[in-house]
């Protein structure tokens, strides 16, 4: 059987359908940066170890460097370019600005996408390796600094801005208590002007 090694695929990125031809070897990270000119998602290690390429797939954080583009067809992809609500920054972006949650900024798009998901995972009641008692009866642990450090451990910062990053995630988590439609909702409504 002669197998085609490339495909024309349609990716749903930040609420827009983008059709592109890809060699099957293309990762989602390279498709975003090299084919779709979405260079906010950064390439660090390209081995799934640093988190710089973190994006949201169907609302869940994932590393784009180990995700084949062809296998991402049909899934809702949210990159750092798609998390703000027009000119209004996402609360996590605002918190990183307010608290200097970065130095050089290279890891920041991945940190922010990851933190958005961390706050949602915590709100959904997911335990972490820092959670002493994982049994559901124990309830959701508060998002302490230890919990944030554990949950954000897949995002490395070579500048070592971790102290401010932890504070920014904590502040954003508090801000999320206020009424706010999350990033996934806004992707869904981006083309219908509902909730703008």
């Amino acid at each position: 059987m002669a197998l085609s090694t490339s495909s024309a695929i349609t990716l749903n990125v930040n609420g827009e359908k983008r059709t592109l031809p890809v060699d099957h070897r293309t990762t989602l990270l390279d498709a975003l940066r090299e084919h779709l000119d979405l260079t906010g998602t950064k390439k660090g290690c390209d081995q799934g170890q640093c988190g710089a390429c973190t994006v949201l797939l169907d609302g869940r954080r994932a590393v784009a460097c180990l995700q084949l583009a062809v296998a991402a067809e049909g899934r809702a992809i949210t990159t750092i370019e798609g998390v703000a609500d027009g000119e209004r920054l996402h609360p996590v972006q605002q918190a990183f600005l307010d608290l200097d949650g970065y130095q050089c900024g290279y890891c920041t798009p991945g940190q922010i996408c990851s933190a958005i998901a961390v706050i949602e995972e915590h709100a959904a009641g997911w335990p972490s390796a820092a959670t002493t008692d994982v049994r559901p009866e124990a309830g959701v642990p508060p998002l302490t600094a230890d919990e944030i450090r554990e949950r954000m451990s897949g995002n490395l910062c070579r500048c070592g801005a971790y102290v401010s990053i932890v504070q920014a995630v904590a502040q954003a988590a508090e801000a999320e208590q206020a009424p706010f439609s999350g990033p996934v909702d806004r992707v869904d409504t981006a083309n219908t002007e509902v909730g703008a």
């Binding site: 296998a71 559901p136 897949g154």
Partner: protein, 330 residues
């Protein structure tokens, strides 16, 4: 990376048939290990069969009080599941101790079992490796082997299996289900991985062309009081240098049932049956815990730089069982 075809399948029989027609095909789940190995040139499939949309993404209670976990359930969903957390807390803890939030969202249960060792020689194409190129030699035996096996290894390979999840599954008598072109089959997890011997490239007892469809956890009341402890060289997001899944049922100071499995010490999750045998029916004391660990570790064969793992595992057994004993008394 070698060029490859890509097919997405929606039913199990179609996936198995496709693999049968393309001998150099591989199943693609989350891709967190396979794609990485393809980039390194270790894996060179001609076709990827994407199984992520197979209807194997559910966790269901079985009639006898156990759980059945589909092969495409993600690590994240497994660790967040209320019944897993309630009935087998050490399994949730083990999954949460592995990788990062991003990788756990992508990785699947079936893929976790089939992930390859992180031995540096295995992923370095410039070096010999009996697992990658049978008969080429094992540089780890006289080279870098600080995190290599102390149990069940051979002169041909001392690589360790990196899974945290598998260690808890071994302790809880999990059974792996698979499908082949000739029908379904099952393997207990403790028989899923083959002995190393002189064939370290043959890793599992899965028949050729098989697709893992799920894992069944039999009912295990003892698992309600269980713990996974992982020792690593940084606080988070690192592979184990030693880990332990333990479950304990103790009443009036006497051990009614105990389950122990070691991680990062062998080519497979290591069920510590000798330690369990020594402990069963005896006192729940630090001395007994140490004696049980010593009985299990008597079979250890260490290399020049990994002998510390014997002490590490002994301490892990004593500390964890002591904690569980105290918790049982509360």
């Amino acid at each position: 990376m070698k060029e490859f075809g890509y097919r997405r399948v929606s039913d199990v029989s179609g996936a198995v048939a496709l693999l049968g027609a393309e001998p150099d095909a591989r199943f693609l789940g989350g891709g967190t290990n396979l794609v990485d190995l393809m980039k390194a040139g270790v894996e060179r499939p001609g076709l990827l069969i994407d199984v992520r949309e197979l209807p194997l993404d559910r966790i269901e209670a079985t009639d006898d009080g156990g759980l059945r976990i589909g092969a495409t359930v993600t690590n994240s969903d497994l660790a967040a599941d209320p019944e897993v957390r309630r009935r087998y807390p050490a399994l949730a803890q083990a999954v949460l101790a592995g990788a990062s939030g991003q990788l756990r969202n992508m990785a699947t249960v079936g893929g976790n079992l089939l992930q390859r060792t992180r031995c540096g020689y295995f992923t370095d194409l410039t070096k010999p490796c009996n697992k990658r190129v049978p008969g080429s030699g094992c540089p780890a035996i006289k080279g870098e082997h600080r995190n290599h096996a102390i149990l069940g290894a051979s002169e041909h390979c001392a690589a360790v299996h990196p899974s945290d999840m598998g260690v808890a599954l071994a302790a809880f008598d999990a059974v792996v289900s698979y499908e082949t072109a000739h029908g379904p089959g099952e393997l207990p997890l403790t028989e899923f991985y083959l002995p190393v011997g002189d064939t370290p490239h043959l890793e599992t007892a899965l028949p050729p062309g098989a697709l893992i469809t799920g894992i069944t956890l039999p009912p295990a009341p003892v698992a309600a009081l269980s713990r996974y402890r992982k020792v690593r060289e940084r606080a988070s997001y690192a592979f184990a240098i030693g880990s332990l899944a333990a479950a304990l049922d103790v009443q009036d100071g006497v051990i009614r049932e105990v389950r122990l499995a070691f991680g990062a010490v062998a080519s497979r999750p290591w069920r510590a049956r000798e330690a369990e045998r020594v402990l069963a029916g005896g006192p729940a004391s630090a001395e007994a815990f140490a004696a049980a660990a010593d009985a299990e570790l008597a079979a250890a064969r260490v290399l020049p730089h990994n002998g510390f793992k014997v002490t590490l595992m002994r301490n892990l057994v004593v500390a964890t069982l002591t904690e569980l004993t105290e918790e049982a008394a509360r």
